[in-house]
Amino acid sequence: MRGGTSLVDRIYRKLANVPMWAMWGIVVIWTLPSLSLFVNSFRSRTRQRQSGFWEAVVDNDRAYEFGCPEKYDAPDLFHALENYCVVLSNDQAAGMLTSVISSLAIAVPSTIIPIAIACFAAYAFAWIDFKGRKPLFIATVALLSIPLQVALIPLLRMYLGGAHFTVPFTERTLTLVPDFDLAGGPWAVVLTHTGFAMPFAIFLLHNYMSSLPGELIESARVDGADHFSTFTRLVLPLSVPAIAAFAIFQFLWTWNDYLIAVIMLNSGTPEVFPTTQRIANLAGDFGETEHLLTAGAFVQAFVPLVVFFSLQRYFVRGLLAGSVKG
């Protein structure tokens, strides 16, 4: 490579730097589709169908249409943008706000409950010395790679009719859990998420908790603290970074989930459908609502993107600590 600091040399070096070109190529390809969605979500149906998003920049012919059609009862806040005011309205087909609330009803408890339960278990695996700890932990982590499909249908049947246990060698069936009519509502999804999150959550939090200095826990024990107070006063506060990491991870995962929702909520009313299901249904009916898909998909992605970018540091740390999602 030639040395020298003249302008020509510098430009030549920049141009000849093939790896950099490759990297920025990847970055552009990774960014363009999202950018296209974002730009298109502000363009009218005709614009979206007539030209690519890149023309929105050079297009001075009213690329943005203002004003909301009367029939959509959208919040004043969003009246400026046509697609958004449909998507953020009560519209039967394309209104996303109802499903945003439904998504929250699923994602928030599906984040809080597994964290609590997994914290207990991770502490037990890390610091309580009981028999069978190691094999039990390995068995738990082995469940990481169990595909969800294997468990979904029996789970759905349990939520549909309660849990029953047929006593071996007899014809008698014992009802362990009566039918609470969970299927078709958010709690069926929440319980499913909780179960499926367990292995990863325990693995991640255990990794973190067991890396805390042992002398610290020992000295607390010597001071007469039992496991409960060691857990609540010492380990839990120290584990906040790992808990935050898992919380973000789990929130994104449950907010973006489609498979579990579509199975568990099949029998429910459209009101309980989360955003992903709503978008998938929108994408399913071709033509009429095509232009709303952009705004809808952006609304769907907006919450995770905000969470993601504002809490990215914790999220990355969580990925690094666990780096496996089952």
Binding site: T31, L97, I113, L136, T175, I263, A301, V316, L320, V324
Partner: protein, 735 residues
């Protein structure tokens, strides 16, 4: 896995892979604004009530669960100081739950059994019978399943209360200091409870148990357990173990072996009493607790309290359903009759699952032989091998197989293309799933690794580049599919293309047709592009030649040269891009329907959506691993004269190998269950179906639970090697 954990533990705050960073205050403001917007928006469409209700329910559930956990822990703490009280509370809980379960299942009738019986006949009419003996006579002549006690004076509330009371007293008494009391009182209560349960059992539940069988089984089991614990050296708990074994044996003899529904009331009472009394004795037996006993109790009880919720969820939501799926895969479509392996046979032999028809052409030859991909892959593989065998000889007259990046990467690319060629001729959901796993895993990990390595040189732009590549991780697969369908969808050629892929493709077609007679485009752009490409090609050739002379690797430049050379030749031949020449010689633009038409490679375009999502994941983790490689190693390699690519392959790569394994397995497992992308992009049509999608179709559309479960089991089998690998690694790490 632990390697990664250690990496991350040693990671300091400033070095966590990706990050545009926001201050805490900005973060707080952004999140609160989001919350306010949500509340305002839901108020305006009249959903505020629903939002509030949901919030309230979540708060209640969380509070109750938290309170339960704290209460259980307080209970254990109590157990350390007031043993009897602890035993009493636990006994009350267990007794209440047990009696409640019996009553809830209608296993027992009204509590005051001897005064009056209401028999319900199967047509719904009731007979009131007051005489106990009459009941026995009726039950002996009538079909006992037709008879059922109706609710009596004590019902769903009273049974649990009584159970809690009895259990509480019995439990408390097992914890008092006087040994005679410890043994006697709980036994009496067990007797009473057994009397109540046995006397109130519905006819259909009465076991026809012989007392002798129960006692013999109790003794045999007790002796077996005692012998086992003696052999295992648990001599101090010998009696407890024996009593527990006896109780289990008695329960088996009383409830599992005999027929239910034919027994007398006395037999039923004995069947309930004997196991319960043995159980009471087992808990009353142990001597006073010393300090180590208390500590052991604390450990055990805490482990139970801390693990119970998680293990319950794992058992109920994962293990039991998985086992049930495996069982239903051997049952028919309604899960009624056992059909053996029929479901698997139906699945595996269906053309939907595995389709060999494209494997051989009409003349019996392999279809794969007609694929350009196959020949290109074969050529690269052979070229790589040839290079590996000869490079040492031609360079410095030494023999031996070359392991340099140049030959290895050529072979790898060749193998990758060959595999692609084979996947493209074997169709069906099964090969599609494997193809997905193969392509997405390698693609996402490879691109992630490339980004991780390259972004290090980008200086201050590094974090921005990484954040942009990482961003799709936050987008749902449904959203990503919607995003990409906008890019993939072709538009009518009379208008403009709205997806950038087709737009570029059509423009390339215009470019390569530039300057033809009667065309609309001037000739000069094509000439200019050809010149630029030629210049780049010449420069690359010069570089490769120099590298060859200096005994350096030239894999990167070689790949670039092949790519640029391809563009150059195609453009020169005027065959680049999307166009077709009509019969009258005029040129027309041609688009690609990525999702529907280019079969079977439309699969690859769907796979790319997942690669788009997963690359960021691979990049972040690998980037952290690369940064954790000690700088001294690079320093040493540099002193030895290693080039940058040699440093990467010989220093960095071996160091990050464990992390690479984690990334590969994680993506592999995630891909095996991909469903959303196929659902939203093509609905499984156009030959893009995969197992995870077919599973939903079979289970919900064709309502065939047997085959649906079989598909789920096949997916499980596909990822089973990863599972075994993970367990193996864990075991190695733990020991």
């Amino acid at each position: 896995m632990t390697a990664v954990a250690e990496n991350s533990a040693s990671e300091n705050e400033t070095d966590d892979g990706a990050g545009l960073r926001l201050g805490d205050r900005v973060r707080g403001i952004v999140l609160s604004l989001l919350l306010i917007a949500l509340v305002a928006a839901s108020a305006s469409i009249g959903q505020l009530g629903r939002l509030g209700r949901i919030t309230l329910i979540i708060a209640i559930v969380v509070a109750v669960s938290g309170a339960t956990f704290v209460a259980l822990n307080l209970l254990v703490s109590l157990g350390r100081r007031h043993w009897a009280l602890y035993r009493g509370i636990v006994g009350a809980i267990l007794g209440g739950a047990g009696f409640g379960l019996l009553r809830g299942n209608r296993s027992v009738g009204s509590l005051v059994a001897d005064s009056e019986y209401q028999l319900i006949i199967d047509d719904g009419s009731t007979i009131v019978v007051e005489d106990q003996e009459l009941v026995d006579i009726i039950s002996s002549v009538a079909d006992p399943t037709l008879l059922e006690f109706a609710t009596g004076t004590l019902g769903l509330v009273e049974w649990p209360i009584l159970g809690a009371l009895l259990g509480g007293i019995a439990g408390y008494m097992t914890g008092v200091s006087d040994r005679r009391l410890r043994l006697a009182v709980p036994s009496v209560i067990a007797l009473l409870s057994g009397w109540l349960i046995g006397g109130n059992l519905l006819f259909r539940n009465r076991p026809d148990a012989s007392t002798i069988t129960i006692i013999v089984l109790a003794i045999v089991m007790g002796a077996l357990v005692a012998g086992a614990s003696h052999l295992l050296g648990k001599r101090d708990v010998l009696v407890e173990r024996a009593l527990m074994g006896g109780a289990v044996g008695a329960a088996i003899g009383a409830w599992l072996l005999p027929d239910l529904g034919t027994g007398s009331i006395t037999a039923a009472r004995l069947a309930a009493i004997i196991p319960l009394v043995l159980l009471a004795l087992r808990f009353g037996w142990p001597g006073a607790r010393d300090a180590s006993g208390i500590a052991a109790f604390d450990r055990r009880a805490r482990a139970v309290v801390f693990l119970f919720p998680a293990l319950t969820f794992l058992l109920v939501n994962l293990i039991v359903p998985a086992v049930r799926t495996i069982i239903t895969s051997f049952l028919d479509r309604d899960s009624e009759a056992f059909v053996g392996l029929d479901n698997y046979e139906e699945l595996v032999t269906s053309q939907n699952f595995l389709d060999w028809r494209s494997w051989s052409g009409d003349d019996g030859t392999w279809n794969v032989l007609t694929s350009q991909l196959f020949w290109l892959g074969l050529f690269l593989l052979i070229a790589g091998l040839a290079l590996a065998f000869t490079i040492n000889w031609t360079r410095n007259r030494t023999r031996g197989f070359d392991h340099s990046p140049t030959s290895r990467s050529t072979m790898l690319v060749g193998g990758f293309l060959l595999a692609f060629a084979f996947f493209s001729v074997i169709r069906g959901t099964f090969p599609n799933t494997i193809w997905w796993m193969f392509t997405v895993t390698i693609g996402a990990t490879g691109l992630g690794l490339a980004m991780a390595v390259l972004s290090q040189r980008a200086g201050r732009w590094e974090s921005i580049a990484k954040s942009l590549v990482f961003m799709p991780m936050a987008i749902s697969m449904v959203g990503a599919s919607v995003i990409w369908r906008l890019q993939y969808a072709p538009k009518n050629i009379s208008g403009k293309q709205t997806g950038f892929l087709n737009a570029i493709w059509v423009e390339l077609g215009n470019l390569s047709q530039a300057g033809v007679e009667g065309g609309d485009y001037p000739a000069w752009p094509r000439i200019v592009v050809l010149l630029v490409l030629g210049a780049v090609l010449a420069r690359l050739g010069f570089k490769i030649w120099g590298a060859w002379q200096r005994n350096e690797g030239f894999a990167g430049a070689g790949v670039m040269a092949i790519f640029v050379g391809y563009l150059f030749v195609e453009l020169f031949r005027r065959s680049l891009g999307g166009f077709e020449i009509l019969d009258d010689g005029s040129v027309q633009a041609q688009t690609i329907a990525f999702r529907e038409e280019v079969r079977p490679f439309n699969n690859v375009y769907l796979m790319f959506i997942l690669i788009w999502i997963q690359t960021g994941f691979a990049m972040v983790i690998l980037s952290a691993a690369i940064k954790a490689v000690p700088e001294e190693l690079h320093e040493a390699a540099r002193i030895d004269g290693a080039t940058e690519s040699e440093q990467f392959f010989n220093v960095t790569l071996p160091q990050i190998l464990p992390t690479l394994g984690v990334v590969l397995t994680a993506i592999l497992v995630a891909v095996a269950k991909v469903f959303d992308i196929v659902r939203v992009s093509t609905g499984g049509n156009f030959g893009t179906n995969v197992l995870a999608h077919d599973f939903i179709d079979e289970s919900f559309q064709f309502l065939n639970r047997g085959v649906g479960s079989a598909i789920a089991v096949v997916i499980l089998l596909i990822v089973a090697p990863v599972l075994v690998f993970n367990v193996y690694n864990m075991q190695k790490a733990e020991s």
